[in-house]
């Protein structure tokens, strides 16, 4: 008989499919979530004794659907009996659950799940609201644990999610099932949201925790879900590859006292080799499709770091080439900033600094612009300018670990000036 952890894992896995199907039928997020909650409680009660149903997802869909109808009857008087009757003519028995003519292959409801994911990326929602909504709705995390991930009070997070859900609901009302180009756009928006979640976990903004492994793991799970639904999408493979390759190195990014270790000084034997291999396989699989894209190029860059046995083996010429391609697709100052590190290695620090100069005003509020500039200035012995850059970085809400690193660098400069 299945134990509790196995059932929980099964419920977590089934959640997006069940919720997406309920949304297609009822189109009320709050209702769909509540109904699923009831069905999951029933599963936790029944399955330990009855064993798993033949098709757990179909079981959950049927039970949630009936729960939803009950909720509608209890709370929404305006729904006439006629309206609910067509939904409830079947009697819930194990027999109907088994014979449920549910179309459970991925193609059957991949657009429903995509729609559910897409409504979390409403353009009017702030990035943080989008992330909170996805974690709540798709991943099924509790408000308390989401609040903890974003260093927010539970009450405030509750309000934020409720507001975001309302907006998302308004959006879904007008959403039809997509075709062709529109589907690609949705996949693109959802990929960006997943990467946003991963980045937030990989490098948290503010607070005293620099990496949130659970957040990264949720993002990777979502990327896998998206790839399962759309197995031929090169950019989704690129996204998963990029997340895996970065995640592989997270173990080595902090030392024993939780200080950040720069890439060059990381103990590469602590990188998780099996994640690197997986990331590289997805990159290779994506590149075979000859549809270049920003996630694939970033995965290529990250892979170069991952395969270098030692920092000095890094093939900066390759990395610079990938950045050049990336800049064509996405001419943003952030790319210029990241590219500058490769320029410094491959061409020269002065060239890198002069390229950074060109994006100075646009990135003046970006912490990493100042830390990167400062690092390069230090190497050139321009300590006064480096100090200035580090001081600007301190004003931009660094995490505790980043702050620690900056203060150490400032101390090195002071000590150097004294001697």
């Amino acid at each position: 008989m299945p134990d509790h952890t196995h059932i929980e894992a099964c419920l977590k896995e089934a959640r997006p499919r069940v919720l997406a199907t309920l949304q297609r039928q009822f189109n009320q997020l709050e209702l769909s979530e509540d109904a699923l909650q009831e069905a999951m409680c029933k599963a936790l009660e029944k399955w330990p004794e009855s064993g798993f149903p033949d098709n757990p997802t179909a079981w959950l869909i049927t039970v949630s659907r009936h729960a939803a109808i009950d909720i509608i009857r209890r709370t929404q008087k305006e729904w006439s009996l006629d309206q609910t009757e067509f939904l409830s003519d079947e009697h819930v028995s194990d027999q109907t659950m088994k014979s449920e003519p549910m179309c459970l292959d991925n193609a059957g409801y991949r657009d429903d799940i995509l729609r559910l994911l897409f409504c979390c990326c409403h353009p009017e929602l702030k990035p943080q609201d989008q992330m909170a909504l996805a974690l709540k709705i798709i991943c099924g995390l509790s408000v308390a644990s989401i609040a903890k991930m974003f260093l927010s009070q539970q009450k405030a997070m509750e309000k934020r999610i409720t507001r975001a859900k309302q907006k998302a609901q308004n959006l879904t009302d007008g959403l039809t099932l997509p075709a062709g180009e529109q589907r690609n756009r949705r996949i693109h928006s959802v990929s960006n949201l997943i990467y946003l979640l991963f980045s937030e976990g990989y490098s948290k903004t503010g607070g005293d925790e620099h990496i949130s492994a659970p957040l990264c793991a949720e993002a990777i799970r979502l990327a896998r879900l998206l790839l399962d639904l759309f197995p031929g999408e090169a950019e989704v493979m690129g996204l998963l590859s990029l997340c895996l390759l970065n995640h592989a190195r997270s173990t080595a990014r902090l030392d024993e006292s939780d200080n950040l270790v720069p890439l060059e000084q990381q103990d590469r034997s602590r990188w998780q080799q099996e994640l690197i291999s997986q990331g590289i396989v997805y990159r290779d699989k994506a590149l075979r499709l000859n549809q270049t894209g920003v996630f694939q190029l970033q995965a290529c860059i990250t892979a170069e770091h991952c395969i270098a046995q030692r920092a000095e083996h890094t093939r900066w010429d390759k990395i610079l080439g990938f950045y050049d391609q990336l800049f064509v697709l996405q001419p943003s100052p952030i790319i210029v900033l990241n590219r500058a590190v490769a320029v410094a290695k491959e061409i020269g620090i002065d060239e890198a600094l002069s390229e950074l100069e060109q994006v100075k005003t646009r990135l003046s509020n970006f912490l990493y612009f100042h830390t990167t500039s400062a690092g390069l200035l230090m190497q050139q012995g321009k300590y006064l300018q480096a100090k200035e850059a580090y001081l600007s970085a301190l004003d931009l809400n660094p995490t505790a670990q980043e702050q620690q690193y900056i203060l150490e660098q400032l101390k090195i400069i002071e000590d150097g000036a004294r001697s």
Partner: protein, 118 residues
Amino acid sequence: MVFAILIYGDEAITDCLPDVEYQETLGKHQALQQKLEAENRFVASAKLMPSSSAVVVKGEEPVMITDGPFAESKEQFVGFYLVDCDDLNSAIEAAKQLPLKHHMMEVRPVEWSGGKIA
């Protein structure tokens, strides 16, 4: 005689399991592997990457290469052992020592392996 122990499971579900559970699973694999090695009965073992990382190669002239997985099903082929056992029963005994909570095993005799009749 060489037997294959083929392991099937739902990747998406095992992916949702907590880390302790994963470690427990790993422990059982290590225990079996050590036992087989000590008895000189271990031939090979492999854990496969997720099926979404696979490509399918089929057809002649032209050979078609498509994005995997080969079959869209709940249970995926996730890994295997090759063990040298006297008979079916001892191969089944070996399979029973593997973590069965989230996986199913198929015990299947090997006709030939590594160029030799098994």
